[in-house]
Symmetry: C2
Subunit: 429 residues, 2 copies
């Protein structure tokens, strides 16, 4: 880690820089995959499974029997843990649906909005070393609560052609049974365009490698919505001298083990505390199975010392972290000043892993300063608000003349006429 | 217009096709503009003003004096109309901020979200024949209510170097005084990257031509958020034999006058009614100043006859129109079945122009089937929801073991450790 003491304001922008992501060079290869899936459908998918995953699949769709078998392979204690996480995610996400009611802006003009689920959504779950069954819950649970009519899931199969049983189990208890064995850019293309086997969806959710991310960017330009742009995961911890250095070190490491490009930042008003955390981090690192990954991330990590906790908070808002942990003696004081962050963890017992798995909050969050403009995936990510309005004769009389005047001033006579013809008919009555 | 009677379901997809938008060829020219604004800042802006608008500007920023002068140039009646529209937009958009409260998912684990304004936003208002001051209200009013700290507006100057006075007036009464004389892709680039004169913003709103739209697409890939992808404007009217053919014709024309590529669709269960609307449309068209544009749009318009109003509604959901007018004897019956639409107008007196200007609803709406996944611009477009959570010792004891189990199963030991170390410290106490 690099410790920077009392950087002046001009240095902040540099300290907030994330690793530059160059995806232009992927455009050609991902574009070709999308084109082939468009033209050849399932054939292209099967070809890429052969090419990238060395698998000859007979069928892309996971069968009911496979799902049933998967459930028997997950141990009881893990099932109970998943059940608790799922229940909490359900509780928290259900609370996110709000109904603002109707507004009568002037007598006879009533306007309102209604929450309506997106009809067809696709979830992508990466394969690889760690099977992200927690992400299945984070996406499938709100999709189900929102009432999306069709929810499909794509995930790459393992070498033997099967899908990780915990992923299948988490999907099925969340009500998803249309699961397809396909990964990478070809999975994103299939969900965006549809094939004979894999249905076309309107919005695609989920993490993935650079090919998946590039494919999501490209299908968005073609009209399929995506959850959010993806970047390396991030944590920023604000801590004072009263915080526990071992707890903070554990939190920094839990971010560092995600990947070599993980962004790990400690901001404190105590140089002594920063030193203690450095020592604790080294100690805990030694015992981690993923210490090679974590130490690469730590090499790029920043320990920043500032004059006051208010300055620390200001720096955090400038950085706009995906995860913000506030481990100070009065975390609620700083919480009120949070302007840019994805998910905020208050106090010494609120570790990021709690929110990653089981507290109920979503772990699909904005990275790379996207927290400036957007929150994480939530119930409303699976819905849209449709506006309605109803005017009575009184209503059109009340606002009609203003509409006529404004339409005329914008040079849009037909807009004006639509009102004039109605007002004239009412005068005749 | 083209009348299609009782199309079978297989034909629907073709009937819903929008004109294909090819923007790939714009990438080079827009990319060059963005690059120059990045490297040369204001110099590049002034160069493009010279090149595209034939104007030599001394200063990009609109002065307080110019704003003051503009107010004196707007007539009293128009000012009153704008005041009514603004008041209604304020009322409706204020109702959109909802607070869902905190949720204690299990004892000791409290999670909640808070609405926080996006700090810096940029509004783009096109120039050209019709000065879209109504769009100024639609964007500036919710931005102000949301509490965005910095709101700037870019709009191209007229030939004499001044900005349309009604645009300036609408901006200033909405609280926006940082207005810059710049249009096109260079305006989008300036707001995304910042120049010496024009501040960098985090999210850009507003309509524009194909260069503006392409620039918005491109800066989004570079990390600046945009409101939504833009396409030609659309209306779909569902009407039965009880509707007024003259009203419906007026509504179709008010859409048609927007541009030659406007999408105009009538869906009805009565072939006779469709015929009547056709006749009325021809009559009203003759009197329009923009009849050349409107007749081009009408040439591509569709009159679709289906067996029942339920079928009409199903077709509309399949089409996912930006604007949906339901002019039937029982509009509330069909309203309940709306699944995909941007803004819905119920009953014979609810014309689209009411919502375009003054009812209070927003007129920045999803086109090109984007209504499948998204609503229009609203108060929440200028805010984000930040998630918070706070765990007590009881809370971490309640969910900690589940987190440990799940993290272990995902192969993320450091995630597990962050809990283990806390549970261990509590046992010691």
């Amino acid at each position: 880690m690099r410790t920077i003491k009392y950087p002046v304001r001009e240095e902040w922008e540099g300290l907030c820089a994330r690793p530059e992501i160059k995806r232009e060079d992927l455009e050609k290869v991902v574009g070709k995959i999308i084109e082939e899936v468009k033209n050849e459908g399932d054939e292209a998918i099967l070809k890429y499974s052969r090419m990238f995953d060395s698998i000859e699949l007979a069928d892309l769709k996971v069968t009911a029997k496979e799902i049933e078998k998967a459930a028997s392979m997950v141990d009881k204690e893990l099932k109970e843990s998943i059940a608790l996480a799922k229940s909490n995610i359900e509780k928290f996400h259900s609370s996110g649906i709000t109904d603002e009611g109707a507004t009568e802006t002037v007598p006879g003009v009533v306007c309102w909005r209604e929450n309506v689920a997106i009809q067809k959504v696709g979830l992508y779950i990466p394969g690889g070393s760690a099977p992200l069954f927690s992400t299945v819950l984070m996406l499938a649970v709100p999709a189900t609560i929102a009432g999306c009519g069709e929810i499909i899931l794509c995930t790459p199969p393992m070498k033997d052609g099967s899908v990780n049983p915990i992923v299948l189990y988490a999907a099925s208890i969340s009500g998803i049974t249309r699961i397809f064995k396909v990964g990478g850019a070809q999975a994103i293309a299939a969900m965006a365009l549809g094939t004979a086997t894999i249905p076309k969806v309107f919005k695609i959710f989920g993490p993935g490698n650079q090919y998946v991310t590039k494919a999501k960017e490209m299908v968005r330009l073609m009209g399929t919505e995506i959850d959010m742009p993806a970047g390396p995961s991030e944590v920023l911890v604000i801590a004072d001298k009263d915080a526990d250095p071992a707890f903070v070190a554990a939190d920094l490491l839990s971010q560092a083990e995600h990947g070599a490009d993980s962004q790990v930042v400690l901001v404190t008003d105590s140089p002594m505390f920063a030193e203690k955390v450095g020592v604790e981090t080294e100690i805990q690192l030694g015992n981690l199975p993923r210490r090679d990954i974590a130490s690469k991330a730590l090499a790029n990590s920043l320990f920043i010392v500032l004059k006051s906790l208010d300055d620390c908070m200001e720096f955090s808002n400038y950085y706009a972290p995906e995860h913000l942990i506030i481990s100070t003696s009065d975390p609620r004081y700083l919480a009120k000043k949070v302007v840019n962050a994805g998910s905020v963890f208050l106090g010494k017992y609120s570790c990021e892993s709690a929110g990653d798995y089981a507290s109920g909050t979503n772990h699909t969050l904005p990275t790379n300063r996207h927290a400036m403009v957007s929150g994480g995936v939530a119930i409303e990510s699976f819905m849209k608000k449709i506006t309605f309005q109803e005017l009575t004769p009184e209503g059109i009389k009340n606002i009609g003349p203003a509409v006529e005047k404004m339409a005329e001033a914008e040079g849009l006579r037909a807009h004006k006429n639509a009102v004039t013809i109605r007002l004239a008919s009412l005068e005749k009555e």
